[in-house]
């Protein structure tokens, strides 16, 4: 019986105790709910009660301290923290919390002294420094946190534990050189941390002065055996656009890692992507010379040829772009042939590949546009068309061929080529329209105005097509002057000659029309063309005079605004007389407020004024 009674008693007591515990948990949750719902006073009441009844419960203690802080009742926070410290004087977190409360009270001196007391308790334990530093960071007392971290690092067997945090703190406080020193110490002691260091550095090297400071730090500790350190230094050089230095470091990496040019190739690709073609070509060439048996040699050769081509284009394109008509941009044949040879090598290395066709297209283009070698270009384009009828470069080759035949005076052959493109079912409509426009132009040159207009009809209705404007212009000319076909034939012939770059002969033909008072629209255009032919042949004084005459005709000549604009161009680009150019552009703005050349004239004025100032 007694046994049974005992069991009942134990069961009852247990049950009451459990209920008691469960009741505390419910109350605690209620307190939390009050806290999050914005009733801190009610939450405080509950937490105080719970803490009073169970002072050893860490959860209740933390919640109570938190609510005191949020209610700014710092004295109460200090009181419970000091009570706790009296019992548990070795608890570093209590020092951290107490210091934080003093810091929030605005008593920084007391806060720092409490944190120091915490560290003193176990000053040979580096982790304590880290813990207290974290409290300082939470209060955004970064300089104090740096001090703790530095001291912890000093006594630690593993200083790397502190370096990353220190680097972050230095970065936050904009002490970039010190941040770089910390990252450097990481990579020197633990090269495997390469990515951490790389990412850490990337976060601040875009700040003013940070990049140079970082480079100086890494240069001082240069260790060629530490490849990861070299990688970082090279990427810093890339960031600062010190390509020569980056190149030297990548060369060393390449040798050290026995990469057979792969590291250098990556570097060259990066340069190419940054549009640093000159330097990229140099690096590609270095790979080709040093690593003939490397697996990336073919890619290096293609990269080299493309970099040369890009660089060549950059240096040669702008000279005569402002001219309405100009001779082909011929260039030093030796230099062009050097580029062609590089492309040719690619054709040999990758026969029957798209890269080879691309290289062939480049070769044909260079022969046509840079060397005026029509026969050579035709041979290349024909080979491409025959070998690779489905290549993306085939249509372009056809178009180039068609243009070459026009220049050679073989209009029938040219027409045949453009007709082939029009009939080709697999090419896009815009490409077909281009061919239609070109064929219409050929018809115009031949004096077949009706068939020319028929061809243009298809292009004109394609409003979104880039060719439709050109088509409209040509159609207008043929329509307006349809009743005076004899003069139109002369004009068409002059246009044909100008397309063939026979500017002197074209000028003579234009002049016939220009002097004919009876053909109003054609006469105006012919006058302008005479001046444009003079520009093409660099006869600037003569063209200035003619353009002035046209401009003076004002509304009698629909090209008078264009004449002024071209005059401004001559002074800007050919005569290099910027003040005169500005004067003419301003004159254009004043006299022709509705001209389509206003925006260009304004842009030129602003550009030239900036240059002068």
């Amino acid at each position: 019986m007694l046994k049974i009674l005992c069991l009942i008693f134990l069961f009852g007591a247990g049950s009451i105790y459990c209920q008691y515990l469960s009741d505390d948990n419910n109350r605690y949750m209620q307190g939390q709910n009050y806290e999050t719902a914005g009733y801190p006073e009610k939450a405080k009441e509950i937490f105080e009660d719970l803490y009073k009844r169970n002072p050893s419960n860490l959860q209740y203690f933390n919640s109570l301290n938190r609510i005191y802080i949020s209610l700014k009742q710092y004295d109460l926070s200090v009181r419970i923290l000091e009570e706790k410290l009296a019992i548990d004087a070795q608890n570093i977190n209590l020092y951290g919390l107490l210091g934080s409360t003093y810091y929030l009270m605005g008593n920084e001196t007391r806060a720092f002294s409490v944190w120091e007391d915490g560290i003193k308790n176990a000053s040979n334990n580096p982790i304590n420094y880290k813990v207290i530093a974290q409290y300082a960071i939470d209060r955004r007392a970064f300089e104090k946190a740096i001090d703790f971290m530095k001291r912890g690092k000093k006594i630690s067997d593993n200083p790397l534990l502190f370096s990353s945090d220190l680097a972050n703190l230095y970065f936050l406080t904009m002490q970039y050189k010190d941040a770089a020193e910390e990252y450097l110490s990481i990579i020197l002691r633990s090269p495997g941390q390469y990515l951490l260091v790389q990412n850490g550095l990337l976060s601040f090297t875009n700040k003013p002065d940070a990049l140079q400071a970082t480079i100086e730090v890494f240069e001082k500790k240069r260790d060629k055996d530490n490849i990861n350190l070299s990688y970082i230094l090279a990427s810093l050089y890339m960031q600062s656009k010190s390509y020569e230095k980056a190149y030297n470091v990548y060369s060393e990496i390449d040798i050290k890692s026995k990469s057979k040019g792969i590291e250098l190739f990556r570097f060259a690709q990066e340069l190419y992507n940054e549009h640093e073609y000159d330097f990229a070509a140099k690096v590609f060439m270095d790979i080709i010379e040093k690593y003939l048996s490397s697996p990336i040699i073919s890619s290096a050769k293609l990269g080299y040829a493309k970099a040369l081509e890009e660089n060549f284009d950059n240096n040669n394109n702008t000279v005569s772009d402002w001219k309405p008509f100009a001779f082909n941009k011929t260039a030093d044949p030796q230099r062009v042939n050097e580029i062609i040879n590089n492309f040719s090598e690619i054709v040999k290395i990758f026969p029957n590949s798209e890269s080879a066709y691309e290289a062939l297209y480049y070769i044909g283009n260079l022969k046509y546009n840079r060397l005026n070698d029509f026969e050579g270009a035709k041979e290349i384009f024909n080979k491409l068309i025959t070998d690779a009828p489905k290549s993306q470069f085939t249509t372009k080759s056809y178009e180039e061929l068609g243009d070459i035949y026009i220049q050679e005076g073989n209009l029938n052959k040219s027409k045949e080529i453009f007709q082939k493109l029009i009939e080709n079912g697999s090419i896009p409509e815009s490409e077909k329209n281009y061919s239609r426009y070109k064929e219409a132009k050929i018809s115009f040159y031949e004096g077949n105005f009706n068939s020319g207009r028929d061809l243009l009809n298809n292009v004109i209705i394609s409003y979104k097509d880039n060719n439709s404007n050109n088509a409209l212009e040509l159609d207008l000319l043929m329509n307006t002057e349809a009743n005076d076909s004899s003069n139109l034939v002369i004009f068409a012939n002059a246009e044909y000659l100008s397309e063939q770059k026979k500017f002197s002969q074209a000028r003579d033909q234009y002049l016939i029309i220009a002097q004919n008072q009876k053909v109003f629209v054609l006469q105006n255009l012919a006058k302008l063309r005479v001046a444009e032919m003079d520009i093409a042949m660099d006869n600037y004084d003569s063209s200035i005079k003619l353009l002035q005459e046209i401009a003076d005709e004002k509304e009698k000549n629909i090209y008078s605004d264009k004449a002024l604009y071209l005059q401004g161009n001559i002074f800007q680009y050919a005569k290099k007389d910027n003040n005169k150019a500005i004067e003419i552009y301003e004159n254009l703005l004043a006299r022709f407020p509705n001209s389509i050349y206003l925006d260009d004239a304004r842009a030129s004025i602003n550009k030239l004024k900036n240059k002068i100032s």
Binding site: G38, L71, R139, M174, E586, L589, P593, R602, I605
Partner: protein, 418 residues
């Protein structure tokens, strides 16, 4: 022979006298409304006199003839007519007729402009800076150091960049606390506060707001956009309390902050409710929420029409070539009408709603103008959005409202008609 020479002289003189005003019309015929303000502003800087013809052809400008100004108009693409004195007299007579709601406002001296921006700001983050740069109107950039050391007295007009005067860093914490730009911005503010002897950024910002208020009180012109409007007034209202949560200033906000707000200290707003949740990207109930606006297609605001002869200031501020303008959002998009002080003049609102876009008021000897939204030509300008290219929005009516504010301080004060 002498007779011929005399005739030529008379013709030349006649030509010269007949073209002695540059008339920059601002209606739909204008090719570049925004640069027209720059031309007028820079003409004033050259010492030329200009007249603002309120409500005449979209609020046109009449500037005394000067070759350089005419040339600038052409280069900048600003359409204008050269008119004779008699033509000008005719315009003046039309404008001043009692039955026309028009008036002439003489502009005499270009105001000295300051733009309040933090050092790490991007020009495209601020519509006013974009507009000033585009219109080629010169300005100085100032920040807390300059404001606190009293440099505002050097300026007539102050613009507040998209800014947070409450010290809560734009309340971007929830979305961007780990973003580098947020971390950098917080450090910049904290360092600046430390440099100026403040323990908290929020306290420094409150003092900055108060200094700016004093600038207005002593005759300055204040123009604020986006979050600089409501956050500015909130900072003024909260001068006796702490509204910043722990992640913003290190300690908790005052739980009774709402009841401690002092609305008598604000410029434009009253009786608003603070948004105390630090994770919610909103300062208070002043701002109109996207859900209240609905779809972009229906977001337009309407300019009020004021009597040019009796209310010249609001008339100047609302000069535009259209009176219904497409809306645009911002951290602060529009203001709830019921939280605006009765003394404040409403310049533009969304019709049939309680949403106010543009307002103006007086404080002391100066004035303030608040314009909701971030960028009039970018409906939802977000963090990291590319800059708006104003050469594609030369005729932006929304941007015109900004530039009205630049010129209105140049106007000669007239006696109020009674």
């Amino acid at each position: 022979m002498l007779k011929k020479i005399l005739i030529i002289i008379i013709i030349i003189a006649g030509e010269a006298f007949s073209q002695n005003k540059i008339f920059i019309y601002m209606d739909l015929q204008q090719t570049d409304h925004l640069r027209a303000y720059g031309i007028t502003f820079n003409a004033l800087r050259k010492g030329l006199k200009a007249d603002w013809l309120l409500n005449y052809r979209g609020g046109s400008f009449l500037i005394e003839y000067n070759d350089q100004v005419a040339n600038e108009c052409r280069v900048e693409g600003v359409a204008f007519d050269l008119i004779s004195t008699s033509q000008a007299a005719e315009i003046y007579s039309t404008v001043q007729r009692d039955d026309n709601n028009m008036d002439v406002m003489r502009l005499e001296k270009a105001p000295k402009i300051a733009v309040y921006v933090p050092p790490n700001f991007n020009p495209w983050d601020d519509a006013v800076t974009l507009a000033l740069d585009y219109a080629k109107i010169p300005y100085d950039k100032i920040w807390n150091d300059e404001v606190l050391r009293g440099d505002l007295s050097k300026y007539d007009w102050l613009h507040l960049h998209h800014e947070d005067f409450t010290g809560q860093y734009g309340k971007f914490y929830a979305s961007f606390s780990n973003a580098q730009w947020y971390i950098d911005a917080q450090m910049t503010y904290e360092n600046d506060a430390k440099k100026n002897g403040y323990k908290k950024v929020s306290v420094m910002m409150r003092d900055v707001a108060t200094t700016i208020k004093n600038f207005v009180g002593s005759g300055g012109f204040l123009f604020a956009m986006c979050s600089a409007t409501d956050s500015y007034d909130i900072a003024l209202a909260a001068h006796n309390t702490d509204i910043c949560a722990q992640m913003y200033d290190g300690d908790a906000a005052d739980p009774d902050a709402q009841s401690k707000l002092d609305f008598s200290n604000t410029l434009a707003f009253q009786n608003f409710k603070l948004e105390m949740n630090p994770y919610i990207y909103e300062y208070s109930s002043i701002d109109v929420q996207p859900a209240e606006i609905g779809s972009q297609e229906n977001d337009y605001f309407t300019l009020f029409e004021f009597s040019a002869k009796y209310d010249p200031v609001p008339t100047m501020l609302t000069q535009d070539h259209v009176n219904v303008i497409k809306g645009f959002m911002g951290q602060t998009t529009m203001f709830h009408k019921d939280e605006i002080k009765p003394s404040v003049i409403i310049l533009a609102e969304r019709q049939v709603t309680n949403q106010v876009k543009y307002l103006h008021g007086n404080y002391g000897r100066g004035t303030f103008t608040f314009y909701g939204g971030h960028d009039p030509e970018d409906y939802q300008h977000a963090v990291g959005s590319p800059p708006t290219d104003l050469s594609l929005h030369k005729n932006s009516p929304g941007y015109r409202l900004i530039l009205n504010n630049i010129l209105f301080p140049a106007a000669t004060k007239k006696k109020q008609k009674t």
